[in-house]
Amino acid sequence: MNFLILTVIKAAVVAFVLLTALAYLQWLERKVLAHIQLRVGPNRVGPHGLLQPLADVVKLITKEDMMPSHVNSFFWFLAPFIAVMFALIPIAVIPFGTELNLPTLDLGPIHLPAIRTAMQLTDLNMGVLFILGISGMGVYAVALAGWSSNNKYSLLGGLRSSAQMISYELPMAMAIATPLLFLNTLSFRGIVDGQAGYFFGFVPKWIIFQGFPFNIISFLLFMVAAFAETNRVPFDLPEAENELVAGFHTEYGSMKFAAFFMAEYCNMVTVSCVATLLYLGGWHPIFPNALGSGFIPAIIFLGFGVISFMHAARPARPFDRITLPVVGVVAFVHAAAFGIGALLVMKPDLAQGSPVLQWVASLANAIMPIVWFTGKVISILFVYIWVRGTLPRFRYDQLMSFAWTFMFPIAVVNLFIVGLYVALFG
């Protein structure tokens, strides 16, 4: 298929999925936080509050967009745009899976052309550096928003953000250098390919399982620095609500406020993707496909369906008797689809002679890696939310001394030792 059309389709799919995921990430966060704090969370709009993101979007768009009279209007308008722009760009270099390689398929009236494309918008030779560079620019949005709002709380938020970003970028870059020393490449696809295979046939060769314990230290350093870079609890001093009202976005409302929110969640997704790619083996399953790792999504859907039917047998509300079996059947259909796909991936000779089965097998070959990748990213995002529900906020001097007197020396020593190790045995 035409490269240009394919790229446009891929960009549209990635943008749609990402923006939807951002909206639902917020739902997930509210739900998980609520359960951590023994509350129910959003449950009014749709079942379990599943339509809440939609309602929030409608609310944010239709709100009055006010501009305070005392702001520096040009930079005040510019800041949300910068925030969203530099949050969305890094997604372009992140690979979500191996590649889609569909053969042509003739089904009477339907003719499907052969498609071959990488599950990624673009693969740069220096993808890691690109992400570091672009996400470093995101701080200008916070700094500008704080400064142009022209009040002291916002200004303090912006100042804190810039100081925090500079401080934590250093340990983060040093932590990232450790896996790069092992893998010898800066392209994300090369990084994931370098983590393929298994020790003793079942322990994956992910970076955190290599070079014990230095890569685990590096992973922890990276995650702590990533929390700080994305301004999340316990490092959310730029918007500390008990000190600074709402910090840098105090003066923003309506869609401009939503833009900052979106950028924050998008940065979380980007950082989780980078952590998955660099340390957790990208799309490589946790145990080999030959041992049946491909069946895990099918088993999850199966369990989901069974639980739905169990609850339908003892309905809490009258309409559960109808809705839950429907959910269960949908889950069973998904389980069957994933099961067939996993079987065809595991035993390719089953598809011999049938073009339809071969087409399904090649589709499954492209989708299974994405399932693993997404699963890992969602796990890291869950940790983000978990930490937010658990830890209190740092004080500002603690934040700075933690970066400079604890993380930075550890990162330097860690990098030295790994460099020595790679030079001697690598």
Partner: protein, 165 residues
């Protein structure tokens, strides 16, 4: 395509550079400087120096300019006030034009018009090539520069610290 991209990014760099000088507010000037640096990064990329482009973005546009902006915000520097310009103040314009003319003439003299810049033709801009060059061929200059920067940092600390009696 390459030439078109060069035109676009060169124009951005020049416009941001002019804006840097004529803006009255320090924050606007700092942001214009970021624009210049980002455009330069794009130009490096067009020439095939991908590592330099990324380093430009991370170090200059990302880290150093954040410090600049931080300091400007911290000092809360206000809009620059300019006095009335007398006719004599415009005397710098012809000098500037003369200087630009000399530079242009020099470049036109040195570079014959038949020689063309070929975009992306330069091989050796990857991180691998640069690392190899820095740590083998140019190891001594590299280390000497590092020590120079270290001395500069120490000097800054000595100058800036408070006197302890």
């Amino acid at each position: 395509m390459d030439a078109l991209l060069f035109m676009i990014f060169a124009a951005i760099a020049v416009v941001c550079g002019i804006s840097l000088v004529i803006q009255k507010h320090p924050i606007s000037s700092a942001l214009s400087l970021i624009g210049v640096m980002a455009a330069l990064a794009a130009l490096y990329l067009l020439l095939g120096g991908e590592f330099i482009a990324a380093a430009q973005l991370i170090v200059y546009a990302g880290a150093i300019m954040v410090l600049f902006v931080f300091v400007i915000m911290l000092l809360n520097a206000g809009t620059e006030k300019r006095g009335r310009r007398m006719l004599a103040n415009y005397a710098d314009l012809p000098i500037l034009l003369l200087f630009l003319g000399i530079v242009a003439a020099f470049i036109a003299n040195r570079m014959p018009p038949t020689e063309q810049v070929i975009f992306g033709n330069f091989k050796g801009g990857t991180a691998l090539d640069i690392g190899r060059a820095l740590f083998t061929t140019y190891l001594l200059p590299f280390e000497v520069t590092s020590i120079l920067i270290l001395i500069a940092i120490l000097g800054a600390i000595v100058l800036a610290r408070k006197e302890i009696d």
